[in-house]
């Protein structure tokens, strides 16, 4: 009789199965997918300071844009990670 009781308790566990629930990989804004361009160079042979300043200023601008992009990536990663961890 005790074996029957043990068998009944074991049987109560039934047959369990796993149903996968998957979350689609979060999409990144399209603008962030483009690579940062190379810095511009000054035309060889120029002696004009204004041309140098023009190129240097453009490069500074390019750096600023790239910095914004990297900051956006960091923000995107941190926020998506937080969202992903919230569903565990």
């Amino acid at each position: 009789m005790k074996y029957i009781i043990i068998a009944l308790v074991l049987c109560l566990t039934g047959c369990a199965g796993t149903v996968p629930v998957t979350m689609s990989f979060p999409q990144v804004p399209e603008e962030l997918k483009t690579a940062c361009p190379d810095l511009k160079t000054i035309p060889e042979g120029t002696t004009k300071l204004s041309e140098v300043v023009t190129v240097v200023t453009e490069n500074y601008g390019q750096y600023q844009e790239c910095k914004i992009k990297i900051d956006a990536w960091t923000q995107w990663y941190n926020s998506q990670k937080k969202i992903f961890e919230s569903i565990k």
């Binding site: 047959c15 300071l49 600023q64 923000q75 926020s79």
Partner: protein, 150 residues
Amino acid sequence: MFTWLIEHTLLLLPTWFWFVIAGAGAVLYFFSGFIQAIPFAQARLAGLSVKYIGLALLLGGVYLTGGAGVTALWKAEVREMQDKVTAAENKSKETNTVIQTEYRDKVKTVKEVQIVLQERIVKEAEKMDAECKVDAEAISILNQAAGGKK
């Protein structure tokens, strides 16, 4: 095949059905003793058969009752998880929109500043070029720095 059979036949049956099966098994098992007590050789054999059939029904019924319970728990958990995933996906899209808007605004500001600076350079170019002549070596150094190569 076995999983398909479980999912499409056994687990579709209501939980009470398995209770009934288990109950019937228990009743058969209980009454098998009375059948065996009848003083005939055939009755003893029949009683033994009923006992094992009852036992099999009892164990099977209890097993599938447990299975139905576990399935119900899993289904509830899956539903809850699915809701969480949907909410997370929506939140993810909203976050993307915020990041995209912030990015566009900041880049727009940088481009506006660039336009202002280029206008200033054009305006001051004559003065700058008159007062300073850039050496070719300086250009070479700046270009090498921009290229980041040895």
